[in-house]
Symmetry: C2
Subunit: 128 residues, 2 copies
DNA sequence: GCCGTGTTTGACTTTTACGTCAAAGTCAAC
DNA sequence: GTTGACTTTGACGTAAAAGTCAAACACGGC
């Protein structure tokens, strides 16, 4: 047990390049082990990469992702820091709620587009 | 009636720069009128800008936004084009559904973070 | 008549998130 | 013992989406 993943295993699984993983390491997002110079990824690394990619999909920057990881790794103990964090979390949530609404609006718009397409297709199909 | 908006009016309303609007015009997303060299934005332009910004928020590229605008302005009449469009719409929808899920997952994670913060704050508050 | 504010074009710069390529090391397999 | 698959670092390149800056035009108010 205690499996290791190679870098290409993960790039294949997630559809990313080795450059991307190297970049994430350079940026301090992940810290795979090494055997010699070769990177060895543990399940925890793999899981973290998954979360990084999720963050990426919803538009977080590398800096934001790093910050989130930081909070998990080493939550602030001081009161001012905590209050600041709460404020920033609240802002992010507002942001995400807006984005969710944007997505829902766009989804219904796409519904309409598709319907219009299908109607038009039916017309053409009948006409010919 | 038939109001015109100045460029700064719109940049202020939407929190963007004039450069951004000029950029969108260069990219063919908007086509404000002119009085001499000065751009005059009509309500329809303003509305379109709103939609462009919504597209931007959910991660559409300029090219994608342009394509969407194009479809609205001049929907395809040919069958193959229509079928292609339907396929692309379906892909986009899948993409957006994934994004929505990502957002929802992240929102609940943020709930947890905030709760942890509040708990921690309460502990500190009681302890001192 | 000039001041402040707004606007224009054009050119150059910046940031983010990687892509691409070169040169070299590792290691199992044949 | 060399081929082939994989990996490393380092350096340079790139695409998207603006930011920044300069020089000049527009115009209402005082």
């Amino acid at each position: 047990m205690n499996k290791y993943y190679s870098i290409t295993e993960l790039t294949r699984e997630f559809g990313i390049s080795t450059r991307t993983l190297r970049f994430y390491e350079d940026e301090g997002l992940i810290h795979p082990e090494r055997r010699g110079r070769t990177r060895l990824f543990r399940p925890a690394d793999r899981h973290l990469i998954k979360e990084i990619l999720r963050g990426r999909r919803i538009g977080f920057t590398i800096a934001e992702i790093r910050e989130i990881i930081q909070v998990y790794k080493d939550p602030p103990g001081e009161m001012g820091q905590l209050q600041l964090l709460i404020k920033r979390v609240e802002e992010k949530r507002e942001d995400l709620r807006q984005k969710r609404k944007d997505i829902e609006d766009t989804l219904s718009e796409l519904d309409n587009v598709e319907e219009a397409c299908l109607t038009r297709l039916a017309e053409i199909g009948v006409g010919t």
